[in-house]
């Protein structure tokens, strides 16, 4: 192995860390499968990881709970965590870096300077914009300032989790801090949205490996999510889907149907409206996912999911009609009012248009008589 006059490749670093080539190839195969690549894609992944030096990463934390980082370091394959946290050269991340205070800020500035235009900026959390951004300040700077500065030299930006992608809970009405997703603040840079609360660890690793392997951002859908992971509804990959088609639904969480594992559609499952890989990739090394554990999907990777009505009801409150209103209640009342109005109108017609109606009736009766 050549001494480190140049930056070592991922593979070199992994070997130093004690992974065998077999482990490495297993990882390449796993991640290629997650990415949805064909068999030959494995070679592309391994070649990239063997030939390319580490991509510097700056991982920012703003308004968030760090569940994205937690999810990431628990992704199923150990190399996933190692490759990114130790080996992708995570130059700055509040949660996991060793440095603190001025040293940490200096490390970030060094990365921004040394790798200008090369580093990948990962953002976890939303950015508060109200009151000059006082609601989230790090090292004397507001989140918005930090984001602007770091985004300027980034090759690509990844928005981890729903906070960065759509604001998540802190952007829920009334959004007191003005929590704003990053795509509304940064223009002119490729932004990959990886929503979820948190996103699946394997999905996060897959996105990073795709960036490294192909040197470009993965194919995105219309709202900027990688198609490989966000093109299918949870509903369409749900193992309880046959119960849906058979019309067998859980009515309550404590009923017989819930025990039988029927579809959770009627207790508010957001699977039919949510695009994510939960049904396929699952969580914690494929152990389970919410629906498998008996709880409906809450649609955490969808925009505005906190404001989309109660989690345990299918139909949202109808805007402007109070808390217990929904489209059906409002509609039924409107239909009732209509019927009442019609009844009043029918009575009114017979009173006000009596003369006209009488004329018609008389005319008809006269004709009837003349005929007989």
């Amino acid at each position: 192995m050549t001494p480190s006059t140049k930056r070592p490749t991922y593979y070199e670093e992994l070997r130093q860390k004690g992974y065998s080539r077999r482990d490495f190839m297993k990882f390449c195969t796993t991640i290629a499968a997650y990415l949805g690549l064909e068999a030959s894609g494995v070679a592309q992944v391994s070649k990239a990881l063997m030939s390319q030096p580490r991509v510097p990463v700056i991982w920012l934390h703003f308004q968030e709970c760090t569940c994205c980082s937690e999810s990431f370091i628990r992704s199923s394959h150990p190399i996933v965590a190692d490759i990114v946290l130790d080996k992708i050269s995570l130059d700055y991340t509040e949660t996991l870096m060793a440095a603190s205070g001025h040293q940490a800020e200096a490390a970030m500035e060094k990365t921004m300077k040394d790798y200008y235009g090369e580093y990948v900026l990962c953002v976890e959390g939303s950015v508060p914009v109200y009151d000059d951004g006082v609601y989230c300040c790090i090292g004397g700077k507001s989140a918005e300032q930090i984001l602007e500065e770091t985004a300027a030299g980034a090759k690509a930006i990844i928005g981890w989790g729903s906070c960065a992608c759509n604001g998540c809970v802190q952007a829920a009405a009334p959004n007191p801090t003005g929590a704003t997703p990053i795509h509304k603040l940064i223009k002119g840079k490729p932004i990959i949205k990886v929503p979820g609360c948190p996103p699946i660890g394997e999905v996060m690793a897959g996105v990073l490996v795709h960036l490294i392997t192909f040197g470009r951002i993965p194919e995105l859908d219309r709202i900027g999510r990688p198609k490989a992971f966000y093109s299918k509804r949870v509903h369409d990959s749900c193992y309880r889907r046959p119960y849906y088609d058979a019309g067998l639904f859980v009515q309550n969480f404590d009923d017989e149907n819930a025990k039988k594992g029927y579809c959770l559609y009627k207790v508010g499952c957001r699977g039919p409206m949510t695009y994510n890989a939960c049904g396929v990739t699952k969580w914690n090394d494929g152990v389970s996912f919410p629906i498998q554990s008996g709880h409906g999907c809450i649609g955490c990777s969808e925009e505005n999911f906190w404001d989309n009505g109660p989690f345990y009801r299918r139909i949202a409150n109808f805007p402007g009609f109070g808390i217990e209103s929904n489209a059906d209640k409002v509609g039924a009342v409107a239909a009732g009012v209509t019927v009442a109005g019609i009844a009043a109108h029918a009575i009114g017609t017979n009173l006000r248009k009596k003369k006209l109606i009488d004329t018609l009736i008389t005319e008809g009766k006269e004709s009837e008589k003349e005929l007989s």
């Binding site: 509804r233 019309g247 409206m273 695009y275 969808e302 009505g309 139909i315 949202a316 017609t349 005319e363």
Partner: protein, 238 residues
């Protein structure tokens, strides 16, 4: 006592009538199956899921009906350009002051029940035409939101043309709500529509109800003569 000397006028051509009844059937089917999709009944069954598929069939009927509904609607738009003058698109969109004036008249006579014997349009009156125009917008809303929801389940290019719709409104959840709430417009429209047909039949006695079956209405001979004169005058103007 004035005698009504009635004259038969062919108003609704066969394609218009077929459109109307197919549309009515589709709307009923779509509302019923759609409501079931939104709020399926609770069925306690001991049967294995693999032996039953009623919810899937319900959805299938909804999708088939929606395709018929949409193509029927597209056909009606086409017919608005090639059909007779009662089917013409100008009956639906307020394009001149006369249209608004007539709408106001209808509001006074039919809704506020002011006494008046003036004869209104032979085909759609202006208010009815405008309300139908609103229903066309509701048709479009349902078609666009419906295809938007359906796009992710389909491989066909037609629904996939609408794959941008969820992103526009902020996700499938909101889209589904819009699609569901708009259903109530159809229900309320249907109630009022049927009532007003009966109302017109009752106070005018010109065969309003049966016109959509046979295609003809009856108008007074004087009205017919007046219409003829009006048309002649219009022709001379041109």
């Amino acid at each position: 006592m004035t005698k009504h000397n009635l004259r038969r006028v062919f108003v609704w051509q066969l394609p218009v009538r077929v459109y109307h009844w197919l549309n009515a059937l589709c709307i009923v089917v779509l509302c019923v199956t759609g409501y079931i999709i939104a709020r399926p009944p609770g069925i306690q069954s001991g049967a294995e899921a693999s032996f039953s598929y009623w919810f899937g069939i319900n959805r299938f009927i909804h999708f088939v009906a929606s395709y018929i509904f949409i193509f029927n609607f597209i056909f009606r738009i086409y017919w608005g350009f090639v059909g007779n003058k009662y089917a013409d698109w100008k009956n639906f969109i307020p394009t001149n002051r006369k249209f608004f004036k007539e709408m106001w008249e209808v509001l006074k006579i039919d809704i506020m029940l002011k006494r008046n014997t003036e004869h209104l349009s032979i085909g759609h009156n202006a208010m009815a035409g405008f309300i139908y125009f609103l229903t066309f917008i509701a048709f479009a809303v349902q078609a666009i939101t419906g295809f938007g929801l359906y796009a992710s389940m389909s491989d066909w290019w037609l629904p996939n043309l609408f794959a941008w719709v969820p992103g526009l409104v902020g996700g499938d959840f909101v889209l589904r709500e819009i699609h569901h709430a708009t259903m109530w417009f159809f229900i309320i429209f249907a109630i009022i529509h049927v009532y007003l047909v009966f109302y017109h039949d009752y106070v005018e006695g010109r065969g309003e109800t049966s016109s959509i079956i046979g295609g003809w209405k009856f108008i007074e001979e004087e009205v017919f003569q007046k219409e003829m004169e009006k048309e002649k005058a219009e022709m001379e103007e041109v």
